[in-house]
């Protein structure tokens, strides 16, 4: 670790100390290894529109009719206007995938499970990485008995999931490379690909190295690849460059990995130097930056002593003024609200800020490289079949026969296959999704795990070139979902592990909260609610997706999930607390919660406890122990005292199918014979050549500070 000053210096750390350098280096390296489950922007927009569309459909007094071929709904507005017909663009309605999605059939499991609980002194503990694909496999973990605080890497090898053999990893360089967790087996050798040690400062190059052992770990050789990983950091205007391994896979004939290079540009000081006010709204895009002043959300913050000039704008304040922000009756000192005046827009190109076009482009679309192992020990860069403008939109997978590259952007996903990693064929268009989470092969046919609707769906390319899509979550319940962590295909079919989460509110037929003559009915976990006036039995307001309100209900100003019920004059008559709604939504039953809202100035308001108390099966003695801060769009947020609630998480499950259509589902906890709450994570599912399904489960330490342990589940198909 070098101790040289860097521009990470802060007033707390004027010299850019070794500690901050080390922390920054760790964060950058760790960030490069984070693989976020892919949800694309189209999915985000779709969810948002579903909420909006549902709001329109569930509005009070709404009668829906599917008339002719054009989507039309008839809306009777709350304001007393007569019904009017509104033509709804299809994009605003719930969108079904283009492909024909088949509901999965539920079948009994044909797997006989053997639970392997290795002796801690001879088994992996705190496993952190497992090579992907089929066994023989290697697992990376701490040495036996170590906790996460002590870290000495240990490799283990297995051929069947039941017997694990330690492998020596002695050379310091190997330790470093292995530590990055990109390990795989190919042609009898163990490979690890990572960045070389010593690359710690933000502008340092991070050379990519490959270390290999062909003798079971007795000796290791290390080679580099032909890639100048420092080139990005040297581009004009780049604050920091980074290279990370984004995939290491092997089929039966070749091995390949991808490197992603990204650039970070600290452009804020450049904007300030260019005269952009510090409180301007900044929007960065591939061609430059647009700064906008004025038209700020004055509905949230109102500077004391100043009267908004018009709706949606804030009048000019002295540049150096210190004033007081008033938010829902609570004050906070020392805030300068606005220095921008009126509506003005200024656009600066990257070139005007002294940033090269290449650097700016890299900020939005990291550069990706594909390396393929040739006949010898050398990995050679080959062209990717597609250049994707979407950051991290290109991913590499492998089945037994083919490599696959998926390319996702906002319009969908494209899939390519190649047997040697050099010549690629484009496969038929995938179903309407951009969220490809896994690609492999089932009976020699491409199989893809995609994210649609309630979770993972499986698409298999049939002989006619059509994708047949099945949604396994349909066997849980109509509103349930599956969050998948690992998928595999092998001789016994498809398997994946993940957390299943039923909608307890739907399962219980909704949750009703009664208060001050009004009933708030929670329809589902997604935040659809209705408010009924008890005296008249009339629905007077609706909430859709937590956010969109209609009728005599509004989101409480503190934006903590509470909702105000209004009278005919718009005055608040009662407030259902966000905590009670949240807890009740999660548990599927009415939960009584007393909420205290504390203002920054020390004032506090305690919400009245609800008149409805949960059923005897759900005791309401909830201690207030945790403080969290919920957030409005702008300005301050009150501190909300919230409670701990009994753990009520999803269920870790393993799903298995021989054909992709008929699925069994089994509880990991039940197979392992442990409590659901003891499962920390189910990382990986693999297959053995004989069709056995191998699931590695990380189990929480029974005593804090003690090592976690692994349980290995080995499922053997009957017959």
């Amino acid at each position: 670790m070098n101790g040289s000053p860097t521009d990470w210096s802060t007033p707390d750390d004027p010299d850019g100390s070794a500690t901050t350098d080390r922390v920054a280096a760790y964060l950058r390296a760790a960030a490069g290894q984070v693989e976020l489950r892919r949800h694309g922007v189209a999915e985000v927009r779709r969810h948002a529109r579903r909420r909006s569309a549902r709001r329109r459909r569930v509005g009070v007094g709404v009668a829906a009719a599917g008339i002719l071929a054009t989507p039309v709904i008839i809306v009777r507005t709350l304001g007393g206007d007569g019904p009017r017909m509104v033509q709804i663009p299809a994009a605003l309605l719930d969108t079904a995938p283009d492909a024909n999605v088949t509901a999965a059939k539920r079948v009994d499991s044909d797997l006989v499970w053997n639970v392997v609980r290795p002796d801690r002194s001879q088994s992996p503990t705190s496993a952190t990485a497992l090579s992907s694909g089929a066994v023989p496999s290697v697992m990376l973990s701490t040495v036996p008995g170590q906790t996460g605080d002590q870290w000495t890497p240990q490799l283990w090898q297995t051929a069947d999931g039941e017997t694990w053999t330690p492998i020596a990893v002695n050379p310091p360089l190997s330790l470093q490379v292995f530590a990055e967790g990109r390990i795989a087996m190919f042609a009898g050798s163990i490979y690890a690909v990572g960045t070389a040690p010593g690359a710690t400062a933000r502008t340092d190059a991070q050379p990519i190295v490959v270390t290999r052992s062909g003798d079971g770990g007795t000796s290791w050789t290390t080679t580099g690849v032909d890639l100048d990983t420092g080139a990005v950091a040297r581009l004009e205007g780049v604050s920091r460059g980074n290279a990370s391994i984004s995939g290491l896979v092997a089929n039966e004939s070749r091995m390949a990995f991808m490197v992603t290079e990204a650039a970070w540009i600290d452009y804020v000081p450049l904007l300030v130097a260019a005269g952009i006010p510090g409180d301007a709204g900044i929007e960065a895009g591939p061609s430059g930056i647009t700064a906008t002043c004025g038209n700020r959300p004055s509905d949230v913050t109102t500077p004391e002593g100043f009267v908004p000039g018009s709706a949606g704008t804030v009048d000019t304040l002295p540049a150096a003024a210190t004033t007081t922000v008033v938010l829902d009756g609570m004050t906070r000192d020392g805030q300068v609200v606005a220095r921008c005046a009126g509506e003005s827009v200024r656009t600066l190109t990257w070139a005007q800020l002294g940033i090269s076009a290449e650097a700016a482009a890299l900020m939005y679309a990291p550069r990706q490289h594909l390396f393929v192992l040739g006949d010898g020990d050398t990995f050679t860069e080959v062209a990717l079949p597609v250049v994707n403008g979407n950051p991290y939109g290109t991913r590499l997978f492998a089945g037994p026969n083919q490599f696959y590259v998926s390319s996702s952007n906002t319009s969908g996903a494209t899939l390519f296959e190649s047997s040697d990693g050099t010549s690629w064929n484009e496969l038929p268009p995938l179903p309407s999704t951009q969220d490809v989470t896994w690609v492999g092969e089932l009976d020699g046919r491409p199989a893809v795990a995609v994210h649609i609707g309630n979770g993972t769906a499986i698409a298999i390319l049939d002989d006619s070139g059509e994708w047949q899509v099945t949604e396994p979550s349909s066997i849980i319940d109509p509103a349930g979902s599956i969050s998948t962590t690992s998928v595999v295909a092998g001789p016994s079919g498809l398997a994946f592990v993940g957390q299943t989460q039923p909608d307890r509110v739907v399962a219980n037929g909704g949750v009703a909260l009664h208060q001050d003559g009004y009933t708030l009915t929670i329809v589902n976990f997604g935040g659809d609610m209705t408010v009924t006036e008890d005296a008249s039995g009339e629905i007077i307001g609706t909430v859709e997706g937590w956010l969109t309100v209609e009728g005599r209900v509004q989101r409480a100003g503190r934006d903590d999930g509470s909702y105000d019920v209004l009278d005919d004059d718009g005055q608040i008559v009662t407030t259902f607390s966000g905590q009670q709604i949240g807890e009740s939504s999660y548990s599927g039953e009415a939960v009584a919660v007393s909420t205290t809202i504390e203002g920054p100035s020390g004032s506090s308001t305690t919400f009245p406890p609800p008149t409805t108390v949960g059923p005897a099966s759900n005791p309401t003695s909830i201690a207030s122990t945790t403080t969290a801060v919920d957030m409005p769009v702008d300005g301050t947020a009150p501190a909300t005292t919230i409670s701990d609630h009994a753990p009520n998480a999803g269920t870790w499950s393993v799903m298995h199918s021989t054909d992709g259509v008929s699925w069994s589902i089994e509880s990991v906890a039940e197979i392992a014979g442990i409590a659901e709450a003891d499962i920390f994570h189910v990382d990986r599912v693999q297959t053995a050549p004989d069709g056995r399904i191998i699931v590695t489960v990380r189990v929480r330490a029974s005593v804090p500070g003690q090592p976690a342990s692994n349980v290995v589940l080995v499922g053997t198909p009957r017959g």
Binding site: T10, V23, H39, R51, P89, E180, T410, V633, D634
Partner: protein, 204 residues
């Protein structure tokens, strides 16, 4: 320098990326109802918002998601929280896009969503690794960062991973600048106390 015009932002954004959404490209009917709710101006505004949001999403999802993952020490939870925050950002994009730091807004909304989830789901025993798939050669640094409180870790991540200034960090987290500075100072003190042995190792 492009002219300052009320449409400058619109044109700047619109020129940079082709519209990708079916709604934007016009493949979706854009007929107006009797009140003219879907007139050309409305559609144009929607076009701008969608494209601008896509640009924001493309540029911020990975860095913010990774920052959340390191703050929360749970990549899955970070992804969930980020998705939720992005949905909310899209729904109120007109407001969010005018904030000083929309990424900071998304980070904070996601962090609060995650906090809410965490307090419902479980209380994890201390000292247990919670971040799967992330392994770093310097385990002591990882362990020291893991021991920080969530509030302190958030400040450290904003400052040293996202590279935000203290003012921007404070604004994004909804705390006073002095609080941000204090948290950062205390976090660094704590990290320093746990990592001083590494500095000693570097001493020749």
């Amino acid at each position: 320098m492009e002219p300052e015009t009320s449409l400058g932002r619109v044109s700047a954004v619109f020129r940079t990326e082709p519209p990708l959404d079916p709604y934007v490209t016009g493949s979706v009917p854009m007929s107006a109802d009797h009140d003219g709710h879907r007139d050309v101006h409305h559609v144009a505004a929607s076009v701008v918002e969608v494209v601008a949001f896509e640009s924001f999403y493309a540029s911020s999802r990975i860095p913010i998601g990774r920052a959340l993952a390191l703050t929360l020490r749970d990549a899955d939870l970070a992804a969930d929280a980020l998705d939720e925050a992005m949905v909310r950002a899209y729904q109120r994009w007109r407001q969010v896009s005018r904030l000083d730091n929309p990424s900071g807004w998304v980070y904070r909304v996601a962090l609060n969503y995650a906090r809410s989830r965490l307090r419902r789901l479980r209380r994890r025993p201390p000292g247990q690794p919670e971040m799967h798939e992330v392994v770093i050669a310097d385990p002591s640094v990882a362990a020291a960062i893991a021991k920080l409180s969530l509030d302190h870790r958030a400040v450290v991540v904003c400052r040293y991973l996202l590279g935000w200034s203290e003012a921007m960090t404070a604004q994004s987290l909804g705390i006073r600048p002095g609080t941000a500075k204090s948290r950062l100072h205390r976090a660094l003190q704590q990290l320093e106390s746990q990592l001083h042995h590494l500095r000693m190792e570097e001493t020749p």
